[in-house]
Amino acid sequence: MQDVAPGTLLLDAARAAGAALGAPCGGAGTCGKCRVRIVQGLVGAPTADERALLTEAELQRGVRLACRCRVLGAATVEIEETATVESDVLGAGVMGDFRRDRVPGDGRPALGVAVDIGTTTVAVGLIDLRSGAELAAGTALNPQTAFGHDVLSRVRYAVQAEHRGELARVIRACVDRITGEACRDAAQRRDDIRRYVVAGNTAMTHLLLDLEVSGLGRAPYEPTAAAPPPRPAAALGWAASEGAEVFCVPAVSAFVGGDIVAGLLATGLPDRERIGLLVDMGTNGEVVLGSRDGLWACSCAAGPAFEGMGISCGMRAAPGAIDAARVVDGAVSPATIGGGQPLGLCGSGVIDVAAALLEAGVVEPSGRFARAAEGRPWAALLRDGPRRYVLSATGAREISFSQGDVRQVQLAKGAIASGIAALLGAAGIDARRVARLLIAGQFGHHVRRESLVALGLVPYELEDRVAVVGNTSKSGAVMCLLSRAQRARAATVAGGVRHVELSTLPRFERLLAEKMAFPSRGQAGAERHPRELVKRAPAPVRS
């Protein structure tokens, strides 16, 4: 129940009520994902933007876009609950070797909470500090998504004086709530919590602590505090034992945050003699390269394609989402979470489908849909208006993958592949010297490394050295929870990573364009692009 003034946008009403309603485009009326259904009541007439994004059938059912629909009188509005597949999606992260601190016996349980604040998903683990065991876990959609899907939309919102503190309030309440739920699940008391450790990207950490964020959104992209000092848990409104503190894993830079530093602790990259690459394929797409002899990092601005956003039939991981695909009898055969009727594609499905389309010859290495379909097994599935490949036509909605979707995948994978190439260049390291490539982030164990190689996201030289490591932000946070030495190590590691700013690298545009193309099939191991883009000097253009 929420009281709002007549004329209020449903999206604003949802935010005021604390209801989790995703608004990926930040309320601009362009993505169509803030769908709600008017059960009954008085609302404004459908706007032009809604007519462009909703079908007639949907409008008849009362489906509207919350960012455009205004409430005029008492109304009941239903938000579609998409149950997210929780612990499956966030595969438990690997953990590095370290020694737990001894916690003296005092007759009470000693608990700690590891918090991973992702841009999209928040995960907590209630940890027994003496045994290191996880007693309970919980996840939630980051409620800040109502203020914008991506970091920059939220930064923009937060810098406006009238919104100061709102984003902090909302995330603190969320963490407090799921911590409380985890304690109840494990039959434990809040006041036995001795410490919280938070790992999040730099913007998430700043917003949690209510630090000034304007520097994050403008060149030269500087955080207010990369390594903020610990805060009393009480200051964030988090119930805990008296004197309990919140330690935030320090960041490297504005766009390589504590979550990545936690991932470095968890994977042990900074301790190894041999060179490793850590690729976090979450919302922001960070990459770290190095070993104990040096570390380089960049943020690739991959965009949301790998989360199923910006894709015509994209969706979050939930029952009905296509999360895998193979080539069967020459055509693309999708599989869904839960095995039922496809409702859309989630991130790992986008990757698998793109790789399968490439393998089947539906998509050329340039990314263009094949021009000649006659005689091909999939000829009937390649349609026009817009050009797309139909994955499923049973059920109410056709699920397809369009030319535009392929381009989105190219942008995302090109960003990461060029980030990897740029770091190798900055460090003067040949790809073949990299001993392992670790994929971290919210794919858990669903993403197929064969697909990442087929798309060229993973350099072909590293094809046999890819491992999926799960949610290393959280596992690294647990390490910091259990060891003072690891907390100190986090600061040392963060301070030693060299940040490479891709947008200002000379010729970056060319590198990115080159990496957008998919590898050609056939040549065992060799990646051939239709044309080389980087070696040539740019030709003068008439002006």
Binding site: A28, R156, F369, E501, L512, A539
Partner: protein
Amino acid sequence: MTRSHEDILTDLAGAVVEMDDERAGELAHEALAAGLDAYEAIQQGLVAGMERAGELFESQEYFVPELLLCSDAMGVALEILEPHLSVAATAGERVGVVIGVVEGDTHDIGKNLVAMMLSVAGFEVHDLGRDVPIAAFVDRAVETGARLICLSTLMTTTLDGMGDVVRLLHERGLRDRFRVLVGGGPVTRAFAGHIGADGYGVNASHAVEVARELAGVPA
């Protein structure tokens, strides 16, 4: 037997569309040897080819890498043809455009594409680069007598700089003298309207269309 001028021009356009810079270079030489006017070869051959590439980009059959390769091919041919342009051919007014990425943002790939397409379309492009101070857009427009100011950004957080440019034009009593065109990832038609811009470009080829409309230049 020399080929007809028409065939050479068609092939020149084709070489650009097919991203074949070797062929583009060969054909540029062939055009000169056949007595084709350099300006005509550029307009009916190269520019025609780039415009076709722009159409393919619009339909997403071509993407960023293809546009860059097409412009490379065009560049090879231009290098050969430009020295042969007569002064008379190049005289005549070209509409000036000031373009740049707004202050606080360093992402310029989109802007570079637009600048390239505008140049091909015959505009006189003054590219201010990236992280451009708000006043610089206005100052350069006045200095060069440009007719359009094109603003680009990739980040949501620097959008407001676009509104600042429009505001500054008003403050200096210059709003009517220039047309403001905006574009970039987070930019929407609604936002363009909200800040009082004159036009909004969805992508690089659309931007050229809108620029032509705003400048009153025939397609």
